[in-house]
């Protein structure tokens, strides 16, 4: 395909997208001249270019549409529902021809006569008479233009071309020409400004740039490691570090697209569906400007469409039902997008009937997804998440829109495939909210580096919920077996274990668990919860994901590869596939926790604490703030003045030592200390402790005689425990250390 045609296709598609948006708006404001003008221009541009490129079929269809739009623009017609439906059909017709051109480089053999006829029919009788007149003049006596023409090509041309002579009626004659001229002048100007500040870039080029930046990040990591000893180089490498970070951010930004790219498809879907289902729906959209990586945007298009369909089909009730329930006959569907940290939240909310928890409970028990006893114990919220379990559908009747039982589990699978999470919240009679949590980008992900088979593997942090260390001497008692299935008792519940070395190298003798260190990475993947046993742990790293060749993709256990800071290659483990391969079954009861672990985080995590001991005293750190726990030699601690700090690849972490842990072991060069790294606002702080004891739920304490919650202390394991006040950790002195500080979260080698 030549460059010109390609450009034409891109431009036309953009024009049609714009037209679609305008059409749905036009339904609400049928007299908006601006909207009509915009739609007219889209079709007019296609017609103009297409004639030049010689796509006759497309030109004919666009021409028919342009005629109708011309009437609208001149105010001779009002955009009523049939007209808008007709224009939407025109849009679909144009799109399908463009698609054919894109695929085969020609227009194909389709038949547009019916559509052209319908468009002609929508025009007022004056026009029809004019056409008849035109026909008479052109000498084509036969067909009546008011009927859908059976043979459009020979007959439409004469019907439409001699428009000028027909418009001899004085009122019409003057109108179209200046308007046309005006818009033709306006367009190049508008395009001019856009063309000056924007540029079309091939996505493959952007991917390549992203790759190279990833490469640069790795090289930088190595340079930083190599030059840390030389003070003269330190300054230079620090600068390299900053430039690289900036560059990476810019390239990532270049791949970002506003959510409006997919939100804008929704008005049309809502319109078509609400008409066919007999609903009245008002669509509200919020946060359209929120940006997301292009590939992720593509990936959530289907789940989002599915969610919208579901809301219309099962959520919002027909108007009479709504009135009977005392609601506005017009339902509201709200799409909201917002960025939260390194994730984008997308919500689909409807004020419809909501989901009846009772129904779900009944259905789940009926289908054997859950025992009646367990169902009665579970909270409504937990039960709601059951709709994501495969094969679960509450639709009483199977409609052609949704309710075939392949609904929400596909939404969940799609969203989890890109590292996102999805959950649902609903109140019977009030409405339903579906919330998707999508990572900002896929190209660079945080991962924990684990060791097995003397090799490094990267384990995506998204699936990791906790780590358990079992030293060799405890292995035989801590790991229990049922036949040949290893299990670990995690807080009283049995967790199936998968040994990574045995999985990757079957048929070879491996060291017994009792002969080596065992680390259990507790993973949640696609509703499957299991522990992956590895021999060792290395640092967490932000890894640049590189695709594997097709041959290695078929192994299925690896989602990609990456280059670590020490230049070693590491395969990226795919927790979902590992669970499948190892035969970890989807335990529906546990499936609930997947949704819950995320949502519950806000409610429950506020109450969960990490219990630590610092120089003989116990203290609590809010678990939600804990990022990681580091064990390191005491000599790693350095001092700025009297303040202890830790240097992590050039990023300074202030270490809080109110417990006096550092002082207690000072002078012992072999000593190890434990630093709990926490998030406080937008910075990270470390807390020096001597032991990490446990994770426990805290209980509220009330000041005697009041109902006021005490602050700063909580009840942990029936002991009143002080909570470490992270906010009180003083910031580092301003100066050189400060700018590097704000960059925490950068790649750590």
């Amino acid at each position: 395909m030549d460059e010109l045609t390609r450009e034409f296709l891109i431009e036309s598609q953009e024009g049609l997208d714009r037209m679609e948006r305008c059409l749905t708006d036009l339904e609400e404001r049928p007299k908006d001249a601006g909207l009509i003008g915009e739609i007219f221009r889209s079709v007019h541009t296609i017609k103009g270019t297409t004639g030049f490129l010689g796509f006759k079929r497309l030109e004919k269809l666009a021409h028919a549409g342009e005629n109708l739009l011309g009437q609208l623009r001149e105010g001779k017609l009002i955009a009523n529902r049939p007209i808008i439906t007709g224009l939407l059909h025109l849009l679909d017709g144009l799109r399908s021809i463009l698609k054919t051109i894109e695929a085969d480089s020609n227009e194909g053999e389709g038949e547009d006569a019916g559509l052209i006829g319908r468009l002609a029919q929508l025009q007022p009788p004056v026009k029809a008479r004019a056409k008849r007149l035109a026909h008479a003049r052109a000498g084509a006596a036969s067909a009546l233009p008011s009927e859908p023409a059976p043979e459009p090509p020979p007959e439409l041309e004469p019907a439409l071309v001699p428009e000028e002579p027909v418009q001899a009626e004085p009122v019409e004659a003057a109108a179209p020409a200046p308007a046309e001229a005006e818009c033709d002048q306006a367009r190049p100007r508008a395009q001019g400004t856009a063309a000056e500040s924007t540029l079309r870039v091939d996505v493959t080029l952007l991917n390549r740039m992203m790759n190279l930046v990833g490469e640069l990040v790795l090289t930088r990591n190595q340079v930083l490691q190599a030059t840390s000893a030389d003070p003269r180089m330190t300054l230079l490498s620090r600068r390299l570090d900053m430039v690289t970070a900036d560059l990476r951010e810019s390239v990532m930004k270049a791949r970002m697209q506003p959510v409006s790219n997919i939100f804008s498809k929704m008005p049309r879907i809502v319109r078509d569906l609400s008409q066919s289902l007999g609903r009245r729906v008002r669509l509200q959209v919020e946060g359209q400007e929120t940006e997301l990586d292009k590939s992720l945007l593509e990936a959530i298009k289907d789940p989002l469409t599915h969610a919208v369909r579901n809301s219309l089909d099962h959520g919002i009730e027909p108007p009479d039902v709504r009135v009977a329930a005392g609601k506005d006959p017009e339902g509201t569907l709200k799409l909201r997008a917002a960025q939260e940290g390194s994730h984008v939240i997308i919500e689909v909310y409807d004020d419809g009937a909501g989901i009846s928890v009772e129904k779900i409970r009944k259905k789940a028990v009926e289908r054997g997804l859950i025992t009646a006893q367990r169902a009665s114990r579970q909270s409504d919220r937990e039960l709601l998440q059951l709709i994501f379990v495969p094969g679960f559908s509450t639709a009483a009747a199977v409609t052609n829109v949704s309710g075939r039982g392949v609904g929400m589990d596909v939404v969940r699978t799609n969203v989890e495939k890109i590292g996102g999470k999805v959950e649902i919240d609903s109140r019977a009679g009030k409405g339903t909210t579906l919330r998707m949590r999508i990572p900002l980008t896929l190209a660079i992900i945080p991962a924990l580096i684990v060791r097995s088979l003397n090799q490094s593997f990267a384990l995506p942090q998204g699936a990791l919920s906790e780590l358990v260390h079992i030293p060799p001497e405890q292995a035989s008692s801590a790991i229990e077996w049922i036949e040949n299935a290893p299990l670990y008792r995690l807080r009283g519940k049995l967790l199936p274990l998968v040994f990574l070395d045995r999985l990757l190298m079957p048929g070879v003798e491996h060291k017994m668990a009792a002969e080596r260190d065992n680390f259990i990475a507790v993973l949640d993947a696609d509703g499957r919860r299991f522990g992956l046993v590895v021999d060792g742990l290395a640092d967490p790293e932000e890894i640049v994901v590189k695709p594997l060749s097709a041959v290695l993709k078929t192994i299925g256990l690896f989602s990609g590869a990456t280059v670590l800071g020490n230049a070693e290659l590491a395969l990226i483990l795919d927790p979902g596939s590992i669970a499948l391969k190892a035969g970890v079954s989807l335990r529906e009861e546990d499936a609930v926790f997947v949704g819950e672990s995320e949502t519950g985080a806000c409610a429950a995590a506020a109450l969960e604490y990490l219990l630590v001991e610092a120089a003989g005293r116990q203290a609590a750190v809010p678990l939600a703030d804990v990022l990681r726990i580091e064990q390191l030699p005491l000599k790693r601690i350095e001092y700025i003045g009297y303040r202890p700090v830790l240097n992590f690849e050039g990023q300074l972490l202030p270490v809080e030592d109110s417990g006096g842990v550092l002082a207690a072991i000072e002078g012992n060069p072999q000593a190890q200390i434990i630093v709990v790294v926490c998030r406080e606002g937008n910075r990270h702080v470390g807390i020096a402790v001597s032991h990490v004891l446990d994770v426990a739920a805290g209980g509220d304490l009330f000041e005697a005689g009041t109902t006021q919650r005490t602050s700063g202390v909580t009840l942990l394991k029936n002991r009143v425990t002080g909570v470490v006040d992270l906010g009180a950790v003083a910031p580092l002195p301003a100066g050189e250390a400060q700018p590097a500080w704000s960059e925490i979260g950068e790649t750590v080698a």
Binding site: S549, I555, A561
Partner: protein, 162 residues
């Protein structure tokens, strides 16, 4: 015909266009040729990272200019025992993409005339016939040519499946 061809060869000796450029690679005591047109780069002393559960002919992964390359072990393909220590890597381009070929060592680049090329002998066994693209009759020996298209891991795994 042969005298005419010989005359032509003398004439065209200056213009390299008619001559094939061949990179030689050593594997144990054998030497093979790879058409230079398919070689993107030669990387000395590569250390491929093994991939558990990968097809046996995969020699591991190497990091090449921002991408992760799948490599093919020529030793394995030709039924030779694996070799300890580092190997040289040819980065090859095939219709399917780029991949690495692990050999013991990369030798010199030769030029040979197409007239000296002969296709695979019919008595060659099936497995080798698929990998070789004929041989050049050099002054002292035969230089067996490898077919980069057939060495592509995608091809190899398809051939194994068949």
């Amino acid at each position: 015909m042969s005298t005419a061809a010989a005359a032509l060869r003398v004439k065209e000796k200056a213009s390299a266009a008619a001559l094939a450029q061949i990179c030689t690679v050593r594997l144990g005591s054998s030497v093979f040729g790879v058409p230079i047109t398919h070689i993107l780069e030669i990387v000395g002393a590569a250390r491929p990272q093994p991939v558990p559960l990968a097809p046996v002919f995969v020699g591991g992964l190497v990091h090449y200019r921002g991408d992760v390359l799948t490599t093919v072990s020529l030793r394995h393909l030709l039924g030779m025992p694996p070799r300890e220590g580092r190997q040289d890597l040819l980065v090859l381009e095939s219709a399917e993409g780029i991949f690495g070929l692990l050999v013991d060592a990369v030798g010199e680049v030769l030029t040979a005339s197409p007239a000296d090329h002969e296709s695979n002998p019919s008595i060659l066994d099936e497995r080798h016939r698929a990998l070789f693209a004929g041989a050049y009759k050099l002054k002292n020996n035969l230089l067996v040519m490898l077919d980069p298209e057939q060495l592509d891991p995608m091809r190899l795994s398809a051939a194994r499946a068949a």
